[in-house]
């Protein structure tokens, strides 16, 4: 009887070539001794008995080393999804890769241009190429930050404080620069002292809302980066 020792996660086993069930033709690895820390299923996986994998391939290659490496691999099922770059009106097509994190939540780990798209044929501009960071950058500023006039350091504010500050400034600037009647005597009711710029990641709804609010205040200098 030929025996072999197998070492793997959780212990060492001794396996032996034996003829099971009295069969004279089929050779199989039979278990003589098994460490108690490992379930039978694990053992079968390790030795490859359960799933029909063999120590040698069909053509006779030794698979022991490759099997050992396979056991160490940390592989996860990534999902590819098609998406569209939110940054501008070109509307480049993207492939987004997500993989479950340790809690099983999908985690976005890669975005690239979709080579099959007739719009961009795999290409992204430098801005679109950084779209991953829009979703999950660890450099994202998560609190309102304030730097007082003349100050060199930033200071963290609460949302309430920041909103109060903004409302105050908008009100003051609007009061100071409001033009009810222009030089020719036309009734215009406009604010010349504030301008508004919408960012590229604005959704359509946010853009619509912002335009309404700003026009309501009398702003005429409204700009919005063109987008899809």
């Amino acid at each position: 009887m030929k025996t072999a020792t197998l070492t793997g996660r959780g212990g060492t086993w001794v396996a032996a070539k034996a003829r099971p069930n009295g069969s004279a033709t089929s050779l199989a690895y039979g278990v003589i001794e098994m460490a108690s820390t490992v379930s039978r299923q694990d053992f079968l996986k390790l030795t490859g008995i359960g799933i029909g994998a063999l120590a040698f391939s069909e053509l006779g290659f030794d698979l022991a080393k490759a099997t050992a490496i396979k056991r160490e691999l940390r592989i996860a099922n990534a999902t590819e999804s098609r998406s569209i770059c939110p940054y501008c009106a070109v509307g480049c097509s993207m492939i987004a890769y997500t993989r479950p994190d340790t809690n099983g939540q999908p985690q976005l780990l890669q975005i690239e241009g979709d080579p099959d798209s007739p719009v961009n044929e795999g290409r992204l501009c430098p801005k679109g190429a950084t779209a991953l960071q829009l979703a999950s950058s660890n450099r994202r500023v998560e609190h309102p930050m304030y730097r007082a006039p003349g100050a060199t350091a930033w200071q963290q504010l609460t949302w309430d404080d920041m909103l109060d500050k903004l409302a105050r400034r908008i009100k003051d600037s609007r009061d100071r620069t409001f033009v009810a009647v222009d030089k020719k005597g036309n009734l215009v009711n406009r604010v010349d002292g504030i301008a508004f710029t919408g960012g590229a990641t604005f959704s359509s709804e946010e853009g619509y809302f912002a335009a309404k609010v700003m026009r309501g205040l009398g702003l005429v200098y409204l700009e919005q980066q063109a987008r899809v």
Partner: protein
């Protein structure tokens, strides 16, 4: 010009095999044998070019010229089991018929497939597309080789000239090594396009966020030193839950020195992994994996 390019194909395969033997000890046996076989295959390729073969002569030429050379190399340098099986096979069955079945659609045993492919593959590679077409049978659609109708051996992402351009995906034929463009997100076996049925099994450490280290918030092990290191950053298993097939994909933008056919042969742990998931490769490769 063509001849120069085509000849360098063999030296490229040789170069990559030598590189991977150094890097991946687990593939040393397979690649060591493949290196020996490459010399034989290149000789077959060169002889085919010399003879300006007619399509109808392929099987006979393979049986007379190529097969004996492949058998010799295989017995000499291949695994014992293969050598023993080849010795038997050579006396047993009409080799010509095995090659014909390989060029057609017939089913072959693992050893027969190996023999026919190792010997006849380089012949097809040496012929022009019309000749290959005339010598072979098989469907001609986007999931089959446009030249010979064979099924794809592997999939690869080409390199692109610019950093911000993602290049096309190609499939490479398991019979004649012709490559053709294919949709990035579709199963190369059944054509499934629903991405929830298309599983991409990639190693931790192989995606952009992990490779660049710590851009992504809450990424496990993020940060330059702690980030997971992938052993196969340029390889992945593209599986399909609909037809339960898989194909290995080589991303040349991740490793510009990779030669898809060689890397695919050497990626044994990924094949073992896929098998464990219950997936079958669309076509077993030259070495039967």
């Amino acid at each position: 010009m063509t001849t120069l390019l085509e000849t360098s194909k063999w030296s490229e395969r040789r170069r990559r095999s030598a590189e991977l033997v150094e890097r991946w000890a687990f593939a040393a046996e397979v690649l060591g044998f493949y290196q020996a076989l490459l010399d034989t295959q290149e000789a077959i390729f060169a002889e085919t070019r010399e003879r300006s073969l007619e399509p109808s002569q392929v099987a006979a030429f393979s049986a007379e010229f190529a097969v004996p050379r492949v058998i010799e190399t295989s017995i000499d340098r291949g695994p014992e089991r293969l050598g023993a099986a080849l010795l038997e096979r050579f006396h047993e069955v009409e080799v010509d018929e095995i090659v014909r079945r390989w060029l057609g659609d017939g089913a072959l045993s693992a050893v027969e497939r190996y023999l026919a492919r190792a010997a006849t593959g380089p012949i097809l590679e040496a012929l022009d597309q019309n000749a290959v077409s005339a010598a072979t049978e098989g469907p001609r659609d986007d999931r089959h080789c446009p030249a010979c109708g064979g099924v794809p051996q592997l999939s690869y992402f080409a390199t692109s000239a610019e950093d911000l351009v993602t290049a096309h995906r190609y499939l490479e034929c398991s019979r004649c090594a012709t490559a053709w463009p294919f949709t990035r997100m579709a199963c190369a076996s059944c054509g499934e396009e629903e991405t929830k049925n298309l599983s991409v099994f990639s190693e931790a450490g192989s995606l952009e966020a992990e490779l660049s280290g710590g851009i992504v918030k809450h990424l496990a092990g993020a940060g330059k030193d702690a980030r997971p290191v992938a052993q196969f950053p340029h390889l992945r298993v593209d599986g399909c839950q609909t037809c339960k097939h898989y194909i290995l994909n080589v991303d040349l933008s991740r490793d510009g020195r990779a030669v898809p056919v060689v890397d695919e042969l050497a990626a044994l742990p990924l094949d073992l992994y896929a098998k464990e998931l219950g997936l079958t490769k669309i076509a077993p490769n030259l070495m039967g994996f």
